[in-house]
Each structure stands twice: as structure tokens, then as C-alpha cells.
Symmetry: C2
Subunit: 469 residues, 2 copies
């Protein structure tokens, strides 16, 4: 029993104060909440998540990636200076003595910290884990959500790991089968070159990039206003940027366009390096049948500061507007920020929560029952005899048949349970079966029943289950 003192301690959800009078007279469980922006995942959701994780892990293993698990919190110092303005969203642990720690904000920084700390020179790893951001739940943003990262660190030939990361991204999205998508791709050095060509002074390149990054949500007119009014870019330069960022299309075609005689990009050193790299990347992706979904898009800028080479972002094109579902790029300096020793790296992060949302919606549309268990047989004992149940169900378990058991005086409850759970077979045992040494098997699909010898029921069920596969 809950002591009164204990009861009073439960606070109402702070967001629904307006209804507090009603709730105060309601049951105590009206005062029970989990933290804002967090969720429990119940059985149907977990079944969908498990399916997604299994597809994703399968792709990673196909590429020889190893799993890595890092702590949920890191030293606060590790996270500082990595996320720009978004650092304000980092969750801190309370200072209860000892070092200051914060919950991880993403999986990239812990990966870089791991590589640096263990003096690793090359690693292809994946990690599927939750990350934490004190974002605004009122905008529908979760504060705890899964990320799913694949990264390759180490020195390789030009575009060797970049090719594989993008190939992995296409395999993930194809195999998850959540609808059509495109992968927008650009190169930081090409972007910087473009801005140089347009006359943006070097010290303003990063801030202009931040403005360009908004082009997927704002019109060019809005972005131009920001460039001219807030960032002091000349009208002429802004117009020139506006012209160039329109460039988008099939990778090899756009590449040809940017390299044709008279192109200003050919006079810009960084751009030439980028275009040469991109040629190798595109030709490799072409050979791997993975170029069809790629769109070379000069307006892609990506917010994070740490990217140094190829950058990309996958966008879902289905009826549900969920926007970006994956993003990544090359970040050659992040590991070095920790260790002082440069280890180049490239990776991608899949926004798996959006994938789940799409998969859940698809299941709902199909109107299918999502089975939360894999139970094959329900042993239903009419009566209260646990001993009989224990013996029967254990024989099934010991034979590797997934089984549940229930005791009751009302068989209708069991039939209902088996139906709702999608359990294909029932074993029915009442007093008459016990006295005659038999059990009744019921096929829940055909509703047919058969009586079999108690001593043979496992064998018969094994056969029936094998035949139904």
C-alpha cells in the first residue's frame, strides 16, 4: 500500500496544469508519468523495432563492420565545443561529487573519443543506441531517441571508405523498404570553392554555409535576405550564389557540367580536388549499381562544422513528409581534436526513429495484426492443476517449441487470448482428457480439433508445425 506521504509526492505532468482539479480527484495513476520527451516502447512497437534492427545489423555485418558500445554518459569536456549552438541541448548529470558528466548527444563524438583514446589507426564500426537532447517536446521532438551509425576511420585510398559508406546507406534504405528516397550529395571543398568564386570572404564562408543549409526549408529570397541584411554579403554575391546552388541532377551529368570548358570551378584549387574525388566516387557507385538514388546537389551544406569532404543527406520521398532520414559525411579532424593525432573518418547516421514511424504507419495501413510474440502453442488447462500444466508445457519447451500455458475454469478466456495473440495451436486438457490419457489439439486457423495420446502430443505438434511452415 502506498503511504499518504508517498502519494502526495507524485507530481502531475506540468503541461496539463489546466486539468489539475479534475485529476486531483482521480485515481493515483493519473499522477504517474515518465519524463517529458521520453517514451516506453510496448510489445508491438518492439516487434517492429526488432525487425528494423535485424535488417540494419544484417547490412552492417555484410560489410564486416564490428559493433561498439560506449557509455551513455561521457565526460562533459568530451562533448564541449563539438556541436556549436546545439550544445545548449546537452543533458548534464547532476554534480554529486567527482567528475562532471553529460549524456551523449550523438554517436559520432563518442566514436571519435574511442578511436583517439585507444590509439586506433583504423576501424569500421557500427553502433545502434539512444542519444539525448534537451529539445522541445512541445514541437513533437523526443529527448531520447535511437541513432544508428556506421563509420570508417583510418587512412585509405581516395574515396575507398566514402564509397562504402554511401553504398551501405543505399542498402539500408533499400532493404528497410520504406518507400522511395534520394540521397543529396555535395563536397565541402566544392562548396567552399563555390563561395570563394562568388566572392565570399574566407572568414564568412562558414556562416554563409549555415544560411545555405536552410534552403531545404526556406525560399532563396528568404535566405538571400539573411545573407545580405544579417551577414553583410553583397547583393551581387548573393545572386551569384543563388544561381549556382540551383545546380542539381544525376551525379555524372552534373560533374560534366561543372567541368566543361570555361567553368569557373576549374580555376579554383579546392574545387578541382573535390571534382576529381567525386569522379572516382561516382564511377565506383555506378559500378556498384548504387548511383541511381544519388542527386549531386550544390545547395547541400549540412550544419555541423566538423565535415571536411563529401557530405550527404537521404530524403524520404513518400507521401509522409518526414524530411531527412539519414545524413553523414567525411570528418577528417574530429579524432585529432581529442588526441592531437589525425585519423580521417567518414560515416553516416540513420535517423531510425523516422524509419520506425514509417514502418508503424505501413503496418497500420496494411491493417495486419503485429505479433508481439512467436508463441506456437498455448497449453490450456481446464482447472487449477499447475502440476499437469508444468509437465506438459515443459515437454514442449524442452523440444524447442515456443509455448505458453494457462490455467482456468473458463476456456473462453484462453480461446480469446490465443486468437488475439495469433497463437496457431492450442493444447486443451480437461478432466476427461486427463483420465483417458489423451490431450486435444486445436488448430486455431482451421478451428479443427483432434484427440491424440498424451505420450505422443509433442511429436504430433512438431509434425503439424513443420508442415505449416
Amino acid at each position: 500500500m502506498l503511504p499518504l506521504l508517498e502519494l502526495r509526492r507524485f507530481q502531475k505532468h506540468p503541461w496539463s496544469r489546466q486539468t489539475s482539479i479534475f485529476f486531483h480527484f482521480s485515481l493515483p495513476n493519473a499522477f504517474l508519468y515518465s519524463c517529458q520527451g521520453t517514451r516506453d516502447f510496448g510489445k508491438e512497437q518492439m516487434a517492429i523495432r526488432d525487425r528494423a534492427f535485424s535488417i540494419i545489423t544484417g547490412v552492417f555485418k555484410m560489410h564486416g563492420a564490428v559493433a561498439l558500445d560506449t557509455p551513455v554518459f561521457e565526460l562533459r569536456e568530451t562533448l564541449m565545443g563539438k556541436y556549436g549552438e546545439d550544445s545548449k541541448l546537452i543533458y548534464d548529470l547532476a554534480d554529486q561529487g567527482g567528475e562532471l558528466c553529460s549524456l551523449r548527444y550523438d554517436l559520432t563524438v563518442p566514436f571519435a573519443r574511442y578511436v583517439a583514446m585507444n590509439n586506433i589507426s583504423s576501424l569500421k564500426r557500427y553502433q545502434i543506441a539512444k542519444v539525448y537532447r534537451r529539445d522541445n517536446p512541445s514541437k513533437g521532438r523526443y529527448r531520447e531517441f535511437y541513432q544508428c551509425d556506421f563509420d570508417i576511420a583510418g587512412v585509405y585510398e581516395t574515396m575507398e571508405p566514402d564509397f562504402e559508406v554511401i553504398k551501405v546507406l543505399t542498402e539500408l534504405l533499400d532493404q528497410l523498404d520504406i518507400g522511395s528516397y534520394e540521397i543529396k550529395l555535395n563536397h565541402r571543398k566544392l562548396l567552399d570553392g563555390m563561395l570563394e568564386i562568388c566572392g565570399v570572404p574566407p572568414e564568412k564562408v562558414r556562416t554563409v554555409c549555415s544560411s545555405i543549409d536552410k534552403l531545404d526549408k526556406q525560399t532563396f529570397e528568404q535566405v538571400k535576405k539573411e545573407l545580405v541584411d544579417e551577414k553583410g554579403i553583397s547583393n551581387e554575391t548573393a545572386e551569384m550564389i543563388g544561381d549556382l546552388v540551383k545546380t542539381r541532377g544525376p551525379p555524372l551529368e552534373v560533374l560534366l557540367e561543372l567541368r566543361k570548358e570555361g567553368s569557373k570551378f576549374l580555376e579554383n584549387k579546392g574545387s578541382v580536388v573535390a571534382l576529381n574525388e567525386l569522379e572516382i566516387l561516382f564511377r565506383a557507385l555506378d559500378k556498384a549499381n548504387a548511383i541511381g538514388k544519388i542527386v549531386f546537389d550544390l545547395s547541400l551544406a549540412r550544419g555541423l562544422d566538423y565535415y571536411t569532404g563529401v557530405i550527404y543527406e537521404a530524403v524520404f520521398k513518400g507521401t509522409t513528409q518526414v524530411g531527412s532520414i539519414a545524413a553523414g559525411g567525411r570528418y577528417d579532424n574530429l579524432v585529432g581534436m581529442f588526441s592531437g593525432k589525425q585519423v580521417p573518418a567518414v560515416g553516416v547516421s540513420l535517423g531510425i526513429e523516422r524509419v520506425f514511424a514509417i514502418m508503424e504507419q505501413q503496418e497500420t495501413e496494411k491493417n495486419q495484426v503485429i505479433r508481439a510474440t512467436e508463441t506456437e502453442v498455448l497449453v490450456s488447462i481446464i482447472g487449477k492443476d499447475l502440476i499437469v500444466a508444468a509437465e506438459l508445457v515443459s515437454e514442449l519447451w524442452n523440444s524447442g517449441i515456443k509455448a505458453e500455458f494457462k490455467l482456468t475454469t473458463r476456456i473462453s478466456n484462453h480461446l480469446k487470448y490465443a486468437g488475439q495473440s495469433g497463437i496457431p495451436w492450442m493444447v486443451l486438457v480437461g478432466e476427461s482428457e486427463i483420465s483417458s490419457g489423451k490431450v486435444k489439439l486445436k488448430n486455431m486457423t482451421s478451428t479443427q480439433e483432434e484427440e491424440v495420446e498424451r505420450t505422443k502430443f509433442v511429436q504430433v505438434l512438431e509434425e503439424r508445425l513443420r508442415n505449416s511452415v
Copy 2:
């Protein structure tokens, strides 16, 4: 590059201040740490963990349990008043505005909160997740570790779920195959009855239980001293307790002993209820061939206050002394503490970190290479031609063959890598192979090589891999 200001921010590990002069002149990565009591799990550890999780999940699914995932932090109020003295080990999140949250301390309380909050009347769920305790890392205790819980909530026939939870525990420990173990088992009502019989006043029952709980680590003389000197129990009562807690042995035999004519337990109401329940439980476990590892032990008390019925603890009996590897029991009042509505429950928590430790030690003793990947083929390109590599390896990936690729001018690096990673096949492609339209296949076990047509190499490898299984 790391700016100097950034560099200075990295603190040394506070516990090794004595060596700070040395470290200050060393590389920056000497200043890189993760938080105290936390660990990264690298590829070999993850491979072992994956194997364990897969066995454990298999057992849970065999019993029709559903997965549940809860947030890593809960409202602080949810955790308050559940862990007695251990509450001081709870990690709090910093107060950054909004509600106060704390990291979960175990998986039982979040489960009870979930059942209460969603007004669930019955649920069989498992959860494998990390929990957090601000314990002392200097004693080798981790502050972040996995727990692995299986619980059944709801109203059932007597001992119906208790039987299944203990059966699951034996299946887990049998299938993990980590060495011999025993499961000590007792009943809270029997324990309370025993103390009543010995003359312990009701208000001292819980505190005497805490003392008895130490009997696995202390001698009875030490415990008796605590009972008499600190807890004000008479010498006579303490001696009587000392006599009774010695009772242990095969369940059905001990049961017979406690029920034989003249036994004081027969005059104690709570004890009679407990003995009747235990008879049903033991007979069911006997029928399920799961009683062999159970030891009925009157000295088992279990620290946590919330247990109300059967309690148990699995102890590993291998050469490594790791003590308790799993524990659980019936807790009929915990859900009601949240909702006011009683939902009885019973469960077990597997101390999976100890299981990992044993499995890792076993692997080390076997001196086997733990494969961290499942890669079947390494495509080794002599040269720098990513395009050739991309085409070859993509054909393997698209055929469902797990493959990695590498470009190099030094083939010896690739041979070494394939050997260390345990990759069974290599595809070798140099200039001569490219010009002749062939590739070389190398079996890494037999070291035999064969040249095959470029157009047929996937097919040949598929056959070779199929035959080697």
C-alpha cells in the same frame, strides 16, 4: 587541429594525480578518459555479448515473453522510496529547468511504473538494458552495467508464474553453459514465520532479515554479534535463529522435514501458507525436470524490502568466485505503490555482466580467436583502382556474401589482415588478372589458390562457401 584553449580543458583522470607530472608532458590522449566506472565494449567483447543476448532472448521468446523498452531516466519521484539505503547510489540529472529526473537504478521499478501507468492487468515481459549506480569504482564496481530481467505481472493460480520464472532461470543458466550453479530458494512468509517462532518482535523482523542476508559473506558468529549488540535481540533468540537457518537441502526433503510432526512451523499461520505454496512449486518444478539445481535454504533473506513471497538467488559454483549471478522473487505490492491498484508480480534479474566475465574467461582459456565479424571474403586489389574493387565486391554483397575489400600495393598487409580476422577466403586481383579477365581465389585455411573467370567468381565462391559449412 585542436586549439590550445580546447586542449587545456581536457582534465586528467582525478585518481591518478600522483603521476600528473609525467602525463603533462605526454601526448594529449593521455588526458582522454571516459567517466569513472564506465567502459567501452570493443569488437571481441561485443561478439561475446551478442552471443549471450541471443541465447537469453531465445529463452524469453520460448516462453512467449514480450520485449519492453523504457527510458534511461525516470522522474526522480518514481525511484524515491524503493531502494532503502541504496537510494544514495541513484544518479540524478542536473536541474536544467523542468522536472527532476534520475537514471534508472534497476529494471523492476520502471516495469512496475509501466504496468501501473498503462493500467495493465497482466504482462509477461523481458528487458535487457543498462542500469546506473553511483557505486565505488575503486572496489571494481561498475557504474553502468547491463541487467536482464524477466517478470510476470497479473493474477494467476497459486505458483503459476513463480514456477515459470524459476524454470526460465534454469533454462537461462543451462543454455548459457557457464558452469555449475545452484539456486537458493526461500519464502518471505516462511522467513517471517521463523523469526516469529524464534521470538523476534514484529517491528524488528525486517532489520533481522537484513542481518541474516549477510550469512553468505559472514560467519554466524559475526551475524549473531550484530543481532545481539546492535539490534537488541536476545542471545537465546539469536541462537535459535542460528539453528534454524542451517536448514538447507533438496526442496522436497526439506519440506518434509519442516512439516514433520511436532514442527513449530505447523503452528505458525504464515509458515503454513508458505509451505503449502512451496509444495505446489516444488512438485511443478519436479515435473518440469527443473528441481535438480534448487536448494531450499532457510538462510536466504534477500535485501530488498519489496519481496512478499518466494525469493531466490542463483550462485555460480565454478572455480571463479563470482557469487550471485541472478536473483528475484515475488513482489505483490510494488505496482500498487504507484497506482493504488494492486497487481501482483514475480520476476528474476540476471546479473549478465558476471555471465559475460565468465564467458570471456572461458574464451581466453580455450585460447580461441574470437571472430568479431562474419566476413566470408576479402577482395584484395593490388593497386589503387577503386572502380575495379567496387564492381567486384558489390557483386558479392548483392549475392548476400559477406565481404570486405581493400586496395594496396602491398599484398602482405591483406594476407595478414585476413589471417587475423579469420576471413576464410580471399579474392586476389592484380594487373595480370585484370588484363586476362580472371581473378585468383585463395582459401585461407588450405592456402590453396585457383584462378577462375572474372564472370564466374561469385558463383564459384558461393559453391565453395556452401560446401565448407
